[in-house]
Symmetry: C2
Subunit: 336 residues, 2 copies
């Protein structure tokens, strides 16, 4: 601190200090290439010396750009709470944004605030938005895509036509999972599927079916759950009750797979000796279970980063990949 209490420096003060016009300082600050290097560096020196930082509000008002990006996540209290998926994606996004000049505004959307959110997004408060969603076919944002740059991701889905999406290839991942089971000598593979109202649920079941068919195997029984542990247990019981034989079960997520553990064991089946269990998500639970669960790991960090990148491209270049598909990775542990 100098002896005098110095006010926050403005662009004007920098201009004076450097002996140029405000316009020139503005150009330097914004990296306009048409500034003579000599002058540019002189201005830069003044900026550093005065410790100048542009005023966001003023800049935004004058340029009609906010410098902000919204991150919209569904409320689903339990989801964010329980789901490391969101946490990772959000963190990744925040991390990427931290390296840019954009500010990340977080919006938790509940049904009651849907309208408010839409307004917020279209009223020019942000330069673009990232929608990370669980629900499928949520076209409520469809029209928005035309008014403000939007990138859908997370576990999206039927992005509105024309929208930009980043998604994990659930179909391929499910195929890889089931193929792995087959490669490890299993031939009657049952599945605990997810809700068929959600894309991941649909795709993972489809992948299971496709691989089995292509391998010429007889499909094992199918039971449905809602991605919760208890629903997994229930589904496992249904599988057992079906009377059909099976030597492996592919669950659409780890929680359901793990929910099945105790009921399988109670039925006298040893994992993986008598029955192989394959999960999906690589949740924290999968590491500490007994036995540790072999599962498909989704590239969540990559997902978030890619979403951020696409949105920035969309904002700055008005262009982006309509669809980016990321591949999951198989994590071998002890349940197969």
């Amino acid at each position: 601190m100098g002896p005098r209490e110095m006010k926050k420096p403005t662009l004007e003060m920098v201009a004076a200090h450097a002996g140029v016009s405000r316009a020139t300082v503005s150009r330097v600050v914004n990296g306009t290439p048409t500034v003579e290097p000599t002058i540019a560096s002189r201005v830069q020196r003044s900026i550093d010396e005065l410790n100048y930082v542009p005023n966001r509000a003023a800049r935004s008002l004058a340029s009609n750009r906010s410098g902000a990006i919204a991150l919209v996540v569904p409320e689903s209290a339990s989801k964010i709470f329980t789901d490391p998926f969101f946490g990772s994606v959000v963190q990744s996004i925040a991390s990427v944004m931290g390296d840019t000049d954009f500010t990340l505004t977080m919006i938790i959307e509940s049904e009651s605030t849907a309208d408010k959110t839409r307004r917020y997004l279209t009223d020019g408060n942000v330069d673009g938005a990232l929608i990370v969603s669980h629900r499928t076919g949520d076209h409520s944002y469809g029209e928005l895509s035309e008014k403000v740059p939007l990138v859908f991701g997370g576990r999206p889905v039927e992005g509105p036509p024309g929208a930009t999406c980043v998604d994990v290839d659930n179909l391929a991942a499910a195929r890889a999972a089931v193929s792995y089971l087959i490669d490890h000598g299993r031939s009657r593979i049952a599945t605990i599927a997810g809700p068929q109202t959600m894309r991941p649920g649909i795709d993972r079941l489809e992948g299971w079916r496709a691989v089995i068919e292509e391998a010429g195997l007889t499909p094992g029984p199918v039971a449905y759950g809602d991605f919760t542990t208890v629903s997994g247990a229930r589904a496992a019981r249904e599988l057992l009750a079906s009377g059909e034989a099976f030597d492996a079960v592919f669950a659409a997520n780890d929680q359901m797979a793990l929910g099945g553990y105790p009921v399988l064991r109670e039925a006298g089946l040893r994992i993986p000796d008598d029955i192989a269990v394959m999960g999906f998500d690589d949740s924290p639970f999968s590491e500490t279970s007994e036995p540790p669960l072999t599962t498909m790991s989704q590239p969540m960090i990559e997902l978030g980063a890619e979403m951020a990148r696409q949105l920035i491209r969309l904002i700055e270049d008005r262009t982006a990949e309509p669809l980016t598909v990321l591949q999951a990775r198989l994590v071998e542990r002890g349940s197969v």
Copy 2:
């Protein structure tokens, strides 16, 4: 959409429409009480009719307030990822903010961006900030408290003197946990403590010690972990190896408690018959373990909400409780 493409309405347009000055419209928008009801309602009608929404940037520039609040969370990739604690708190904060006119700006802080963050906070980009931290004694924000309203929370700690903090009463929670063990007939209680560099680690150990002392019991052995599952397993082995007898173990968090499960079992001890196990945190893991873990649940939603409330008070009234302490709740499950 009307036939004419209508531009986004400005305060000026509303003024014209209502036949008053811009100043008056501004007053109505901001709820200034000195406006004649007749006029106020006329203006309000115009606002509704034109669908007017104030421009944040302009407002911010003119008022020198940003209408934004920063949420600063430590990077610790794994932390946010694994830790439902953060997720809940963050969600709760976002939820409360959603009901105000404040915007929530999320900042993930890594060591390399510490300076950038501090600058961001002090450069008038936000009206205040919420610091949710794991580390103890992080006084790097201490000075900041004088330049911008700050509220510390999460699992904070030694908030810089004079700062506003919201915390969970770990000491009381630990006491409650151990008392419960005693009430359920246990008399030799061991503990798997957390790092003594972190406030929660310190307080939970202290609570354990205090209750045992007051009850006139002989303390069981103590082992230390770092809040991870593996460290819990290791600590459990140490406890067993100590040769000291014990019929219960109080772990400073669920993960460590659960890490101890298998080693206790391998030692031929049944839970809770031979040994009671008490966790802390009420993590998702605690529900699905075998047996389900009895644990202390922290009021994370309340924590986030309270942080948000205090910060808003601080911003709007320049006043807030220096320290708000929230109580944890015991969740009875099957391990005691």
